[in-house]
């Protein structure tokens, strides 16, 4: 992302995240409308999760110009999401839901802003998916090592 794009996203984020829980509440609404089956993966009361979500998003936005620093944390987060039941296709659903939530809260939405946010969110979900894949591969390796079948070990 260019410095201009990052600056654009930071301005947009500052506007939509000014009211606590507003963006996250809209995000989960959009997410569950798109994928009602995901609702069961989340707690009934989303208040705490909304706070964690906004905290995580704020960290990412702050580090957009140096996403490498968040790589390990995002990969760990992706590994955790395997345990929470997230599937690879859920990540793009979540990206669409977040873009939709920001769009709803942004009076000056433009195609350029849409593209910028999609790029930013993609930079979050790619390392998360990589972390999920590595975690799954490590589990597969462990199962193979524990297996008496020589074909797997």
């Amino acid at each position: 992302m260019t410095p201009e794009t990052i600056a654009q996203i930071k301005r947009s984020h500052a506007a939509v995240a000014a009211t606590p829980r507003q963006l996250s509440a809209r995000f989960y609404k959009e997410l569950f409308e798109r994928a009602p089956d995901l609702r069961r993966l989340f707690p009934t009361d989303l208040t705490l999760l909304q706070g964690h979500f906004e905290a995580a998003l704020a960290i990412v936005i702050r580090n957009l110009d140096d996403m490498q620093t968040l790589g390990e944390s995002l990969r760990d987060l992706g590994a955790q999401h395997v345990h929470w039941g997230a599937r690879p296709e859920d990540y793009t659903t979540a990206r669409d839901a977040l873009v939709a939530a920001i769009r709803v809260l942004s009076p000056d939405w433009t195609p350029a802003l849409d593209a910028a946010w999609r790029a930013a969110i993609t930079s979050i979900i790619v390392p998360m998916l990589q972390g999920a894949a590595v975690h799954t591969a490590v589990v597969a390796e462990q199962i193979a090592l524990d297996s008496p079948d020589p074909d797997y070990s």
Binding site: A14, P20, E54, A55, N63
Partner: protein, 194 residues
């Protein structure tokens, strides 16, 4: 044709039968004791802890016997003198984490519980996570996760206090509290245990 049962001596009247019967009674009595013991684990645990508390009540090093935690009874918890470095900053100073107190308490003959009370001050506009994942205790070069679950969010321009608890072997005297943020900035605070 079947024998008349009444013409045979009772099983209880045979020597092996008597011995087996005695063994059965002993087994049953032992089983009852086990069941009774298992039915009162909390009370037993409490009394064990109390006795350990009494033996740990002697001040050691810089530790100070803390006040009671429940009903005025001594708990064996000892306050630990905090180092000069007891506060760390993240995110260009927008997140400040300060250790307010540290306390150590015996769990059993091999382990102790090390509890920190920390305050997370968030001076940014956005929420910050205040959770166990940020805290590790380095014991003999091995990082250990907290044994309790701290799972909070500190809203913008506010602060919260919480507890972070670890288990450490009794023999360990030097530990390092590591506090990190998702950007992988790590701050380390060394501590000496009594």
């Amino acid at each position: 044709m079947a024998e008349n049962p009444s013409s045979r001596p009772s099983w209880w009247q045979t020597v092996p039968g008597i011995l087996t019967g005695i063994a059965a009674i002993i087994t049953a009595a032992t089983g009852l004791l086990v069941v009774l013991n298992r039915s009162t684990p909390a009370r037993l645990e409490d009394s064990t802890r109390s006795s350990q508390s009494a033996s740990a009540a002697t001040p050691a090093g810089s530790a100070v016997q803390s006040g009671s935690q429940s009903g005025g009874a001594a708990t064996g918890a000892q306050s630990i003198a905090l180092p000069t470095l007891n506060q760390v900053r993240f995110a260009d100073g927008e997140a400040v984490i300060k250790i307010l107190s540290a306390e150590i308490e015996p769990i059993d003959s091999e382990r102790r519980s090390l509890k920190f009370v920390v305050r997370h001050t968030n001076t940014s506009r956005y929420p910050e996570n205040f959770w166990s994942a940020s805290y590790r205790l380095i014991v003999e070069d091995v990082p250990r996760a907290p044994t309790n679950l701290l799972d909070e969010v500190v809203d913008g321009n506010s602060a919260k206090e919480g507890e972070v608890v670890f288990q450490v072997p009794v023999s360990v005297k030097d530990v390092v509290l590591q506090i990190s943020n998702p950007g992988n900035d790590k701050n380390r605070i060394p501590l000496s245990l009594p």
